[in-house]
Amino acid sequence: MSERVVLVGSSVAGVRTAQDLRSGGFDGEIVMLGAERELPYDKPPLSKQVLVGTMSEDDIGLLGAGGWDGLGVDGRLGQRATALDVDERLVAVEGGDDVEYDALVIATGVRPRTLPGGLGDHQSVFTVRELRDGRELSRALAHGGPLMVVGAGFIGAEVASSARSLGVEVTMAEALAAPFDRVLGTEVGRHLTELHRSHGVDVLTEASVAAIEPTRDGAVVRFADGRSREAATVVVGIGTIPNTEWLVSSGIPLEDGVLVDEGCAVQAAEGVYAVGDVARRWDPATDVYRRVEHWTSAVEQAHAVAQQIIHPLAPAEAAKAPYFWSDQFGTKIQMVGRPGDADRVDLHTFEVKGVDRTVALYSSAGAFAAGVTFGWPRGIAACRAAWASRPPVADVERTLHTLSSGMAPVA
């Protein structure tokens, strides 16, 4: 068993690895490096409950009541890993001492992509990734709107929803013709766009930002086609970039993330793993490396890696169904599987207890590929249970019918 495990990254993937190592009986040393000075916190509430004020900063802490000591972790905050030497098994650290490892877990996540050409370098322009972003954005929204959200992705959409519930006027600008198209496809993207419009969000399409000009109380956002809007606050949500620069000199394989095998191990380096948003894991079923930014995947991967460090000879835990949730305008939007793999999508409405619930079922050559539910957690639970065996999509539809009409069990 490894004697010293070094975790780089102090967010959910890193903290869960530490917790799972301890609950699995690991009694060696655990060192955690975190670039941020904040105690580890959870990110999903940053665009939701923390913005609207229903959860406090204390509510999103990840360490638990016992803190570092309770976990038995040497937490080194404000210390950024700057390089990795896989032969010497050494991590170079800025702001602290370099550290040797027997096992290394890379959990450095991603950071928001910013607008090109320094367009967003202005104090009224925000991205939402870290606690301090959430803090500053809350403060900005408390002064009222209007808010301009650039990019129709999930985080921007959640910020839009949170801002509307605070009574702030919101415009969302998407460069493509169909908002949410990239993740959900055109039809389902349209459904989600309608949800936004019906809650008063002004959704602009084919609106690509050409300039953001500072004004006395905010900015003017100018689009390439000549349109423009004034905003007190601008939130940019246009995708992410994996935090792998510090690994370039190590020679481990990097390509839109750290390439890892089925068990999240870096094949080319002994004792090195990657988990969470930064990891691009090999999927044996399709022979494709995939990187997903889903909370649940980070937690599953953390568990799988902790198990491997403790039991190096046991087979690695297989990946589970990709699963994501989002909360917008009081509706839970939940997704299982990979809509991008599908060649067809059908929207269905199921009536449950007098309320219509929309479900999108995606299929590839007739086999169930993905499901998205709007406001029906029980429906997504059934889709999740079905996903592993990729049944005919008609079977999934039938299961949902049964579920909507009575008391059939979910799984």
């Binding site: 799972d20 568990h303 699963y323 839970k332 957690p377 999740r384």
Partner: protein, 70 residues
Amino acid sequence: MRIHADIGKCQGYGNCVAIDAKHFDLDDDGMVVVIDDAVAPDELDTTEEAVRSCPVSAIWTQAAGGPADE
């Protein structure tokens, strides 16, 4: 061991159900339902995994007869 749930915290994310459908279900409003709160020793690993998977710590296990088990 017994399962406890804080319905007020549950967000209907359903991670518990995906891992341990023997003990957890969701109702039509998306709230967790503990189908059977007793966990046999050989089920404990799975139930603990379900507990850990909850993003909002709305479920937990406790030895039967413990303080929260009146």
